[in-house]
């Protein structure tokens, strides 16, 4: 599908990979070269079509494009009458809601730049981003976020108004610094009456090189930095993907990824404006799964972790199901696997297998797809940490073709799987319009029209990441296979060289291990003075507890359960089966089962739930030492924060298991 060119340029000696030549991306049309212009065109084209739905009071409430337009216009002019100037920054913290999208379009229409912030940001994180971005307005969803803003008030003097859209609990705040969405829109309506052409003029003014977003990267190692994403970056970033995974105006999209994440901006909001599909907003974060089922979207992007959880959950539900369901599943799953293997080997699938596969669909997999809301799914993407190939294979058997989408905040989608050319172990070929240069040390450099404009107010970091030729240095290691697919390994800095000189990718092994329903999270270590690979494993409490109950293993708490010899044996079996698929040097020799789970609140994970490896290695140094010095157990007294807010010290012995 993709062509691989080996260009040995004198300066880089890199291998450059591009997507198939004949897929070209058209330049932007001048009348739609910014997001607000795109929005206006969409409104014109499909005024009475449903633009958004929000489930409120148990019912999907609809907003047409015309209503969406009025919301945006009033809000935008409201901001203008409160003094928003072109180029100023507007921060938004909140759950996915129509109001969130409108706030962004409104700010853009007035020439502003938006900063979307994760709702679980603590005071320090929120204060840092507001301050670093020079924001002048803050949209704060509800009482919780407004309280944060009020607590930060002294530290964020540039914020002129805090604007909320869920008034619950805020009725008696009596604080002029806070304003409701409606109050701002009322100002906007007055402004509109006085200046009827103002909004259209403002919205037409922007340039494709204006900064639309400052997207703060999650910062696994340092303070978050604000990637400057221009209007044209978002438009091209979206085009690169929809060229391969087309979207249609009558598609249904479910907005549940945090808007602080570039993918929601690129595929959700930008996609909404570019294609005009309907965006459905779930009732609350807790109802996302059932809301997805009700909407049955045609495209969806989960982080790999969610797919893993979903696969684990589906398997578990089947285990808990009736004997008939279990028997049907056990009968038909291997048939689907067989067909997949034949297809992958490009062999013809014999008619009896086809009939079997078809029966399997009727009996088991079509109802299963309905349960997870994937009856209309055309483009099911996964991104974030590498997804275990086993999970991809499982969903394919269910009838959902998962496609990898690999990208970054700085240049959105780098690669993705094309229809009919999905290879489980790769992240796919480069997206159309994207070039990838693989450096001799394995680092991937990216160049495309979606590449960002540098980090806000940070020339040093910008110079490190972005070179004069427009290449973005991702810091990710990968290589290209014979079909031009990219195999993503790991962060260059996280690749580890073992005693025999072979490199291994901890993330890859972790992905495989996490397919076990009993393993929730895992960190593998090795290399340098550590001669073999070891693992620190978090058990999945719910699943292991269920297993323990069924197998009459008595336990009291998580700590107790995690150190049961029966549980160690259970986990060992799963580690062994993963080991069989790995080269000998990369096999896990020893592991410990941690007495707790990795926790973002204890800075063990990032907010996107990636491991903070350095911090973990330091924190659990004792356990690593025990595993490399052949000790049987290690005493730990770890500080833990209980769910009730207290913190205490757990004293226990964590046992070392040998595989």
């Amino acid at each position: 599908m993709a062509t691989l060119e080996k260009e040995r340029a004198a300066t880089t000696a890199a291998v450059i990979v591009r997507s198939k030549e004949n897929i070209t991306i058209d330049p932007l049309a001048t009348e739609t070269d910014t997001l607000p212009k795109m929005f206006l065109q969409r409104v014109d084209a499909q005024r009475d079509k449903v633009a958004m739905r929000k489930k409120r009071f148990g019912i999907w409430q609809e907003y047409t494009w015309q209503q969406s337009f009025e919301q945006v216009r009033d809000l935008s002019l409201g901001l203008v009458s409160l003094g928003l100037q072109r180029g100023e920054k507007v921060a938004i913290i909140g759950e996915n809601d129509p109001e969130f999208y409108w706030a962004e379009i409104a700010a853009w229409s007035a020439g502003g730049t938006t900063i979307a912030i994760f709702t679980d940001a603590n005071l320090q994180e929120l204060g840092y981003v507001i301050d670093n971005s020079d924001s002048v307005f803050l949209f704060a969803h509800d009482q919780e976020q407004c309280d944060k803003a009020l607590a930060l008030r002294e530290k964020i003097p540039n914020i002129r108004k805090v604007i909320y859209w869920d008034e619950k609990g805020l009725w008696h705040y009596n604080e002029p610094w806070l304003m409701s969405y409606e109050q701002v829109q009322a100002l906007g309506r007055d402004y509109h009456r006085a200046h009827p052409n103002a909004f259209m003029e403002l919205a037409q003014q922007g340039s494709p090189d204006d900064i639309a977003l400052l997207s703060y990267t999650s910062g696994t190692t340092s303070l978050p930095k604000g990637a400057m994403i221009r209007h044209r970056n978002l438009l091209f970033g979206n085009k690169h993907v929809i060229k391969i995974a087309p979207t249609k105006p009558d598609d249904e999209y479910v907005s549940f990824s945090p808007p602080a994440w570039i993918t929601e901006q690129s595929l959700g909001l930008t996609g909404h404006l570019v294609t005009g599909f309907t965006v459905n907003f779930p009732e609350s974060p807790a109802t996302v799964q059932t809301d997805i089922r009700e909407v049955a979207p045609s495209a969806l992007l989960f982080p790999s972790r969610v797919w893993e959880q979903l696969a684990g959950l589906m398997r578990l539900r089947i285990l808990d199901s009736t004997w008939l369901n279990k028997a049907l599943f056990a009968l038909f799953l291997p048939i689907r696997y067989k067909i997949i293997d034949l297809e992958d080997a490009e062999k013809s699938v014999a008619p009896h297998w086809r009939i079997g596969g078809w029966l399997a669909d009727i009996a088991v997999f079509a109802p299963l797809r309905d349960k997870i809301g994937m009856t209309r799914m055309r483009n099911a993407f996964t991104s974030g940490a590498a997804l275990s190939p086993d999970v991809v294979r499982f969903f394919r058997a269910v009838g959902v073709q998962l496609k990898n989408l690999y990208g970054s905040t700085e240049c959105q989608a780098h690669t993705l799987h094309y229809d009919g050319n999905v290879k489980l172990a790769t992240v796919g070929p480069p997206a159309p319009g994207v070039e990838i240069a693989i450096q001799p040390d394995g680092e991937m450099w990216i160049r495309s029209r979606a590449v960002f404009g540098g980090y806000y107010k940070d020339e040093k970091k910008t110079a490190e990441a972005l070179d004069a030729d427009g290449w973005f240095h991702t810091g990710d290691a990968g290589y290209v296979d014979k079909d031009g697919h990219i195999i993503y390994l790991d962060r260059v800095s996280d690749m580890i060289e073992l005693a025999n000189g072979e490199k291994f990718s901890p993330q890859y092994i972790e992905g495989r291990l996490k397919f076990s329903p009993y393993i929730q999270d895992v960190m593998t270590v090795g290399g340098f003075d550590m001669h073999y690979v070891t693992a620190i494993i978090n058990i999945d409490f719910e699943n292991v507890a269920r297993w323990a109950e069924k197998n009459r293993v008595a336990f009291t708490t998580f700590v107790d359960l995690s150190q049961k010899p029966e549980v160690a044996a259970l986990i060992r079996k799963d580690v062994q089966s993963v080991n069989e698929t790995l080269p000998p040097a990369a096999r896990v020799q020893k592991f410990v089962i941690l007495h707790k789970v990795f926790d973002a609140d204890e800075a063990e994970l990032t907010r996107t739930r990636k491991l903070r490896r350095r911090a973990l290695e330091q924190k659990y140094g004792d356990m690593l030492t025990a595993m490399y010095e052949n000790l049987d157990e290690v005493k730990v007294s770890a500080e833990v924060k209980y769910r009730d807010g207290r913190s205490g010290v757990v004293e226990t012995a964590v046992k070392v298991s040998t595989v």
């Binding site: 619950k168 009732e283 609350s284 109802t287």
Partner: protein, 258 residues
């Protein structure tokens, strides 16, 4: 917040079961719009007092006045219609029904359609059902119960069942809410949620709330006025600060100053 008009007056009530004197000459006045707490050790008569207010028990002596009317002789269902609703210490819900159905069931006291029109389900009966559902959905939204709307109550955690019960009490559209240990058995996070809901209800609907609670810190935080009971007798009444310093209360109940 509060004004001088009395929402509820308990006038010198005494209640005994055989030889056990559960309440002896208890009197107090709950002002309109107050959050009013009753504290006391186990067996002090707190639940008996609430049961006397909502009409489950009928005290042998004394009177209960609701909005100035003597309701001592009224049965519980009639008091509910007047606007007194309650939750229970040991959750009393239809455990095999969903959250939504539990709340809808509570709306029956406001329903006008009879068996026939309800069965045919057209015209006014249908519109009425829609209206009740709308009210119930507002409560679901208010108490953030969207994700458990269609969950069977028996499958919910204890903390969530307490929340459903509060929702059911609200579905009756009371003007006086009696909460019997709304936070018992909850972890700190659930307690904080519940306290927030109680304050929101009070703030939003100007609801008069009478609650029994063991968590002293919480009672002192959210209540405007506190009555302390011991062995069926009122031993103190005052603001949270006064109660904290009250000798009799400290001796009877707290053991030490909190």
């Amino acid at each position: 917040m509060t004004d001088s008009t009395a929402k509820l007056e308990v006038r010198d009530i005494s209640l005994s079961f055989g030889g056990i004197r559960a309440l002896q000459h208890v009197s107090f006045v709950v002002p309109q719009g107050a959050i009013f707490a009753i504290i006391g050790p186990n067996g002090a008569g707190k639940t008996s007092l609430i049961n006397s207010i909502n009409g489950f028990y009928h005290p042998q002596q004394g009177a209960v006045l609701f909005e100035g009317r003597d309701i001592t002789a009224q049965p519980a269902f009639r008091r509910a219609k007047m606007g007194i609703s309650r939750t229970f210490q040991n959750i009393a819900l239809y455990t095999n029904m969903t959250t939504l159905d539990n709340l809808m069931a509570a709306r029956h006291i406001h329903m006008k359609s009879n068996l026939l029109t309800g069965a045919l389900f057209f015209g006014s009966a249908r519109n009425e059902e829609i209206e009740h559902r709308r009210r119930v959905e507002e409560i679901i939204d208010f108490l953030e119960m969207e994700s458990i709307r269609k969950t069977i109550v028996g499958n919910l955690s204890y903390g969530l069942r307490k929340r459903v019960e509060l929702g059911r009490a609200l579905a009756l559209e009371p003007t006086l809410l009696l909460l019997d240990e709304p936070m018992a058995g909850m972890n700190v996070e659930e307690k904080e949620d519940m306290a927030r809901f109680i304050l929101d209800i009070h703030e939003r609907q100007d609801m008069t709330i009478l609650l029994i609670e063991h968590d002293m810190g919480l009672v002192m935080d959210i209540s405007h006025r506190v009555v302390a009971l011991d062995f069926g007798r009122k031993i103190a009444e005052g603001t949270p600060d006064e109660i904290k310093k009250n000798e009799a209360v400290i001796k009877a109940y707290l053991g030490q100053e909190v």
